[in-house]
Subunit: 609 residues, 2 copies
């Protein structure tokens, strides 16, 4: 109210280049990637320069429009169009021009072949600045990657270039009205023809970026069922379905892909969420990607990346909310210390209150811890390009285990973090004048996108910790033990290394305890508390990240060869201690809950509710 | 999207009359109030009939407009007016006509003299149906009560009747731009005149219901500082400041109270939150209430009721969100049980999934547990009218202790509860088509209204558990021990009684541990983890409520003289077990955190952030 301009025009605090350098290059040592052939065209300095230019772009084109896009949501025009903010086109164009849609694609496919560790630093900045608009870029990149990985050369040539150039929008079209999260129940049909295409008929809902004003064409990577295919997930195929198909002469013609509506949402209001209808006039062509009936396998490669991306987005938005809260408490004075009895003394800055510091450190611990876990995943993703053989398999397996964890931990905890940002601002935090309430609203969807927290939890307990006879769990244990050993080299870190070891042992023991249900084929029972198991895993694994961070900071301080400020590095160690005091112990309650053999669920008779 | 009408037109599930009867009359035995002279004009049957008619009113006038008011927020017209939804006037009029503004006021003051236990059952229904509009009613009731308790008979006659009739709106005007939560820094000035009024000058922000279209006049119960008054909270006085003052001939004239704006908020959008300017033309008169410099003491009586009210509102909104989620999962089928490998089998109802049941039971445990605690407070509030002497003092002391707990527990946990309601609905839960996202947005302010969670926590640890040498804490211990003894009469409840005893002992021990900081005059240190202390107290005290509920249900089942369904009573016992398995153990982590002597706060040097 009465604000001369909106907040995001007045503040620059949405991300932290120092933090990114520290996490990517010091904590996760991504510099070693540049020694490998695939990435040898880059070095750390260049990478940092690219990240800095992404930051400049975000500062100029994205962040100032964050609140404005919220106030002017994407809107369906009643006839196939979704009206979006004019700035969106500017952003997509400029980001494409800097290369941020195809950044991590190979040179061969027209990309810049930079590691995800670097690309995702830029995406993190975009997510922190204006998370909805980063969605448009990220989806295009993901759709293009599905085509480059599994499509024909012809498909790559036809679709990927205009996507990388920001002319065409790529999307993922999975969800259907009757199926929701249950992809086995997808009904969109693909009828073979004697041409190179299938005839498509069906509806998809909740399709992000499925229609908007910033692109000329839309390339929907769509799951559908070829006539006669097996029931369930084994009968799903992947198709490219453009809104306008390319004729032999290169001209475009309408492909009977109609946007039937746009969902109004409580957050991410600038991000169009559409309802698409394929083939209502029986004239929609879909082009098969890869082999028939393998669609879900292909899609899951993208889905896994997208899950890391969603987790990272949650961390990024939480970090932006933290930065906004941090700025506020350093500008506003209010109240006095409890021991100050003189009401004529000047009020102190909000940051001087113990409870405010507790709220800020909680936010910092969550946001930076989750971001570090995303960096861990990005690095492991990059390693897939440079490792081989067993090392590569192991790395992949560990990444598979970490994926649902970064997604679930970050999205659930980021909500708590943003809620604290609102608390720090008090009543002002609840008003549209400040961005923290928007962060809070935007973040909530992260626990739903690409599989709810419930689904991530079942993925972790039901699949990831048990595949290959628990190999992924062993690899995780090994990695964490390595970090514990490294931390033990610093006297000041020993207590925390000990705490993490205890949490790790608890995690392993309770996993074994639960496995007996699986072995007895009591699957419903086994998975019933998967969510609690995920909570425990998240707190423990982010505790691991904080120990890594603390060790890195301790080493930099000891070696005394770095450009960070003393406060920056000490702040990392301090936040680690905070995490170990306030957050890590939560694993113990989770273990207590999971140990309890009583089962309070009744899948058939549920008249208790 | 595409919804033919809005959700709240299609659903009736927002509250639960059976639950209210069970909590008020069986669990908290409010029937005994009717034996007392002050309330003897009422009986249980009449009370239930009143509650039922409140429900009919809410169903007809309030709930169908819940989403509509969100979509058409209160809006400042640029010139002193705040435009509100036309239905608001209908609601205020009809609620006033049924007596719900002055319901608990004495006959002497024009009220219906009904217990808060009954009045707040009606308010709960309004809060669950449309929490913003209940705010208008509740504020009027509160402002009127300040006048009846501390004002002159003339003031009562002048202001209270039109407030009870819904013609005039009562408000509480505390917060100022420079002071925020720090009431000691209030600057609004009151200059004595030789008439019966003071000249007022100042600004108040975040004044709920401070200007709208449903009432003709506004009566602001305002804190201001009389010229020359002592600094700090001891120099604050309470004034009645009407927007239009009553001339001797009974006509109204403008009192120089200008609404300078309205805050746009992320939730409670139908509830006007105003910025008021008093005396810009030096023509604003304020009428002192009670004695000079005692304003804060008076206001705190209302504030304490308001805190219970905010806690109850949070519980009510969480209950409404739970009911909406519960309806959804019984209508929508999706997915199959993990052990079902045949994809051609029909999907099962969402409620059949174990994780969905876990989410629903968590919501139920939070919402009903917090509501029970509000009922406990309401009952103790009513007892103030019927007890005397030491019994009355003890009852008051215990109520004082419970007040910040119901406020903080309910508002924090209700956010978690509503978040789970969104999760249950998945992507749909995030769209404006369903009310759960609105519940989630609305609830967030409850942790800020009438003192943030941080302030409630400092109130609990810094004041309530230590006043009268810890007398309130002793009283709480006694009450809880009584409930434990009662539960121990039922074999099936013994394990839970034991768990609560353990939690209670932990609570007492950690309180003693912390007191040593207070005794050493380390006040900042003492209060630094007040929030964690509050979390522990909340989980333990709501655990007490669930034991009471479980005992009540067990007794009703045993006596077999009741009209509840078997599922209803078993559901109470089941939810108690759920609470004891998943929620109560959280007290242990809190204790672990509080035991830790390390202090990670630095009030002066904070360059870690």
């Amino acid at each position: 109210m009465n604000s001369p301009q909106n907040y995001t025009n007045m503040s620059k605090a949405f991300s932290d280049l120092q933090l990114l350098e520290f996490l990517i290059f010091d904590t996760h040592r991504s510099e070693e990637l540049f020694k490998e052939e695939y990435y040898e065209h880059l070095d750390k300095e260049q990478a940092l320069a690219m990240i800095a230019s992404a930051h400049a772009l975000a500062e100029r084109d994205m962040f100032p429009y964050y609140q404005e896009m919220d106030g002017n949501p994407a809107k369906y025009d009643g006839n196939g169009k979704v009206m979006t903010h004019p700035q969106l086109k500017v952003i997509v164009q400029n980001a494409a021009e800097q290369g941020w849609i195809g950044a991590s694609a190979s040179f061969e496919h027209g990309g810049m072949q930079i590691p995800e560790s670097v690309n995702n630093a830029a995406q993190h900045i975009f997510q922190a600045a204006n998370n909805g608009v980063q969605g448009y870029l990220g989806l295009s990149a993901g759709a293009a990657r599905l085509i480059t990985n599994f499509g024909t050369m012809e498909q790559v040539e036809r679709y990927v270039k205009p996507i990388f150039e920001g002319q065409w929008q790529g999307t993922m079209a999975l969800t259907e009205p009757q199926a929701g999260s249950s992809l086995a129940d997808i009904k969109t049909s693909a009828t073979p023809t004697d041409q190179d295409y299938y005839k498509i008929k069906g509806q998809k809902i909740f399709i992000s970026a499925g229609q908007h004003e910033a692109c000329d064409n839309f390339v929907h990577l769509t799951l559908a069922r070829i006539e006669g295919a097996p029931a369930g997930v084994r009968g799903i195929s992947l198709f490219i379905i453009p809104k306008y198909r390319v004729k032999d002469d290169g001209d475009l013609e309408y492909n009977d892909v109609f946007c039937a509506g746009e969902y109004e949402k409580m957050g991410q209001k600038g991000y169009a969420t559409t309802h698409l209808v394929f083939g209502d006039d029986d004239n929609c062509r879909g082009y098969l990607v890869g082999e028939a009936n393998k669609g879900l396998t292909y899609m899951f490669q993208l889905m896994n990346e997208a899950r890391i991306g969603v987790g990272q987005t949650a961390a990024s938005v939480a970090l932006a909310a933290y930065k906004a809260a941090l700025q506020y408490v350093q500008e506003r004075s209010q109240g006095r210390h409890p021991s100050e009895k003189d009401p004529e003394k000047d009020p102190v800055l909000l940051i001087e209150h113990a409870d405010v510091q507790r709220m800020l450190l909680t936010q910092k611990a969550i946001a930076e811890g989750a971001l570090s876990l995303a960096c861990e995943c990005n690095k492991r993703y990059d390693l897939e390009h440079v490792l081989s053989g067993k090392e590569k398999d192991d790395n992949h397996l560990l990444l598979e285990l970490l994926t649902p964890v970064v997604k679930a931990y970050a999205s659930e905890e980021a909500s708590r973090s943003a809620s604290l940002a609102i608390q720090v601002l008090g009543g002002y935090g609840y008003t549209l004048d400040f961005p923290v309430q928007q962060h809070y609203r935007d973040i909530k969807i992260m626990a739903i996108y690409e599989g709810t927290t419930g689904i991530q939890s079942m993925d972790l307990l039901g699949r990831k910790v048990v595949i290959n006879n628990g190999r992924a769990l062993q690899l995780l244990t090994k990695e964490i033990s390595k970090s514990i050993a490294q931390a033990n080299e610093y006297d000041g870190l020993k207590p925390y290394a000990g705490q993490l070891e205890e949490a790790l042992n608890g995690f392993i023991a309770i996993s074994q305890h639960l496995f007996k249900y699986a072995q007895n084929n009591e699957l419903e029972r086994y998975l019933s508390d998967a969510n609690v198991y995920m909570e425990m895993a998240g707190h423990m694994i982010v505790g691991w990240q904080w120990l890594k961070i603390g060790t890195t900071a301790s080493q930099l301080i000891k070696d005394n060869k770095h450009n960070y400020t003393k406060g920056f590095l000490e702040g990392k160690i301090h936040t680690m201690k905070f995490y170990y005091k306030y957050e890590l112990p939560k694993t113990k309650v989770c273990i207590e809950v999971l140990k309890e053999d009583s089962w309070l669920t009744d899948l058939r008779d549920y008249n208790w509710f």
